[in-house]
Amino acid sequence: MTSTVCFRVNSPNVLQETIDGEVVIVNLDNGNYYSLSNVGAEIWGLIESGAAVAEVVDRTMRRYDGDHIDVEDAVNQFVDQLQQEALIVPDGAKELEGIKGLDRQVETGVDTERPRFEVPILHTYTDMQDLLLLDPIHEVDEMGWPNVNPDDS
């Protein structure tokens, strides 16, 4: 069963820019950055525009040639991954009256030229975490200013 939950980009600590259909995402909370292309970038765009997960599945089915269950599983896993990385957060749910009609359109094979569906990939870069992340502060000096963790010095 696909969710009717909607998500939003977890701003302001998640930054994103799209250029030529590719997306770069920066997470200021964990010091990671990410890139998306092709199916992943399209799904990101749909989520960002407020589409519920069920709508994302539906539109992806319309856009690509693939087994409905495979697409649904891949989209759900991808959304889970985006959530785990705290790049998106739930933003309510909505009624989805039109989905069944759209599904039927896909099933009748209206567009036989659709490209083959490929599992979306979130490319994750962790090489700059040390610029941002800070070990827990264990003590402060006599004026209240934090000291460096002794283990770091």
Binding site: E17, I19, S35, L131, L132
Partner: protein, 361 residues
């Protein structure tokens, strides 16, 4: 997530107004006291990014640590600077940095103090060297306060006042970026990439050529009216392991005795003032990467690759940098042609490749 257990300070200010403005005013009063103790202000003026910046030191303790990197931008004094940065240390003046008015669980490595000072008054704190940065964007008045001026880290001497300049310049159409820049008077290249990608080696390899130098790691960028880079610092930093590739620069190293724990730091204006310029239009973005071959070559790079090279390592270093900075950098990489600079082992070829690119060859 950044805190396990802290001992909260018991200060006289607790329980009173803890707004950023109160903190700013407290710091200002403490600075005036420190300035008096130190025998009055020591002032220097610089043209940075097209604006006149006054550095107002409480005594002379920090002058030699802060000013060498800016010397190429020095100008005569002005009664109406665009920004005044008050600079002070606790040890030489005997005046303590005023205590924080926020809890200890709000610090982020890039200096942010989360949920505090997001309005006109910006506040950041570098925990390692204990440097407080405060700016009031309305009054164009800032404070840079380090606990011990003798402990000013070499990287602060190399690129001083980063946070304050980043904050203030972004309000004035200049984006502080982590990038190098070399070129000619009519145009040049921006060198983008994370630390270790070859920005410094590339920039320094160009000193012995017709190319001029604006930066090896930090500079100011604007998109309007045309993409343009402003030099910030005449300093350069090199990994000790890379010095052998540029042996003619060895006499310029300012910290030869500490290379076991510091990068080599060079102040280029002191040794080759004609090579360091204040800025130029940017014609090309170059993404240096080590190719492992003798020759240096160029390969086209996508806008997205350029954005990945330029934006995360800029934004992760600058407190308060967010979507606006990301957007500006995305616009920049869309506007400007881009190439990978496939760095060869023969560094003397690098300037020729860049000159050839700039001349359309």
């Amino acid at each position: 997530m950044f805190i396990e257990q802290v001992n909260q300070p018991d200060t006289s200010i607790r329980g009173e107004d803890t707004s950023p403005l109160v903190f700013f005013e407290t710091v200002y009063r403490a600075f005036q006291q420190a300035e008096q103790v130190a025998g009055g202000p020591v002032e220097r003026f610089y043209n940075i990014g097209g604006y006149t910046i006054r550095l107002r030191f409480a005594g002379s303790a920090l002058v030699s640590g802060i000013t060498p990197a800016l010397e190429h931008l020095a100008v005569v004094s002005s009664p109406t600077p665009d920004l005044t940065i008050c600079i002070c240390d606790s040890i030489s003046t005997g005046i303590n940095m005023p205590p924080p008015l926020w809890p200890a669980d709000v610090y982020v490595a890039r200096g942010d103090i989360q949920r505090y000072g997001d309005g006109d008054i910006k506040i950041a704190f570098y925990i390692g060297p204990k440097i407080l940065n405060v700016l009031d964007t309305k009054q164009n008045l800032a404070f840079y306060w380090i606990r011990d001026g003798c402990q000013l880290p070499y990287y602060e001497s190399g690129s001083p006042l980063r946070i304050i300049l980043h904050w203030w310049m972004r309000e004035h159409g200049r984006q502080y970026v982590h990038a190098g820049a070399v070129g000619t008077a009519t145009g040049g290249v921006l060198l983008a990439g994370k630390g270790g990608s070859g920005k410094s080696t590339t920039a320094l390899a160009c000193l012995d050529s017709p190319l001029v130098y604006a930066s090896d790691d930090y500079c100011l960028l604007t998109n309007k009216p045309v993409p343009y880079v402003y030099s910030l610092y005449n300093s350069a930093k090199l990994e000790a392991d890379d010095i052998h590739r540029l042996p003619h620069l060895v006499p310029f190293i300012s910290n030869s005795d500490r290379l076991h724990e510091e990068k080599a730091l060079l102040f280029l204006h002191k040794h080759c003032p004609d090579k360091v310029v204040t800025g130029f239009p940017i014609q090309v973005i170059l993404l240096p990467r080590v190719a492992g071959r003798p020759e240096t070559t160029l390969t086209p790079a996508s806008p997205i690759a350029s954005l990945k090279a330029l934006a995360p390592n800029t934004i992760f270093q600058l407190p308060g940098a967010g979507q606006a900075a990301f957007q500006m950098l995305a616009q920049f990489v869309r506007q400007v042609p881009r190439y990978y600079l496939e760095l060869g082992t023969n560094v003397s070829q690098i300037p020729d490749v860049i000159l050839g690119l700039l001349s359309g060859g």
